[in-house]
Symmetry: C2
DNA sequence: ACTCGTTATTTCTTTGTAAATATAACGATA
DNA sequence: TATCGTTATATTTACAAAGAAATAACGAGT
């Protein structure tokens, strides 16, 4: 059997996407880069797209996941909140366990 | 908590998609309609897209999932093979159990 | 006041994908 | 051999999503 099962998970709220794999990737890049523009560059993503994702996340969450500051020393920057960190680990844990679950189920099938 | 977790699963082989939710839907429509064009119409899908999906599935499977005949009484038609039936039920079972798994995992989180 | 690198936002352009359209091929039946 | 409804395929059109580019705003430090 040379087939592989794949999956994608995401979290929605009343009207639309809240968290998905791309958004989690962006959160992690913001954390490691300390800036939205650098995070976007590190993911080969346009700044605008990154900003849209961040804005959408912050607007649809109870608390912001990212805080950004403009101006000042270094021009500003962006950082992940404690709530944001919690979301990253929660998402990655459930995603990983989903993969494991699917792999084991799929192996049982013997297609 | 007004968040909901969602997922999509699919099966790939060496270079590309083999089975996904849209393809399974199409297989089921072919089964109930007996024709590719009627199946496409019932799903509000263009004939061309339906044909592409069917062709891709048949080409990447060990055995065809759909057999189509052209000409003859009634103009022809399409039908699901036993192998195709097996794929439908296998996919739907694993998909359902994945949803249940995710829902229960997500409930544990209390975001 | 001026500089700096960043965030924030608008507008325009491009591009990739889906949809519409048209047409050929097919073969049992009459 | 003419008809019929389907499968099979190429070509064109339309549209939406992504990207590029340009510009404004910001505020600590000098």
């Amino acid at each position: 059997m040379d087939y592989k099962i794949k999956s994608r998970i995401w979290v929605e709220h009343k009207d639309g996407m809240f968290l998905g794999e791309g958004r989690i990737q962006l959160l992690k890049a913001i954390k490691s880069e300390g800036s939205l523009s650098k995070a976007a560059a590190s993911l080969s993503m346009s700044y605008k797209k990154a900003w849209n994702l961040m804005d959408s996340m912050n607007k649809s969450a109870k608390e912001p996941l990212v805080v950004a500051s403009t101006g000042g020393k270094g021009g500003g920057g962006a950082a992940i909140t404690a709530y944001g960190e919690k979301m990253i680990t929660a998402f990655e844990n459930i995603n990983k366990s989903c993969w494991e679950f699917l792999d084991s189920e799929f192996k049982k099938l013997e297609l």
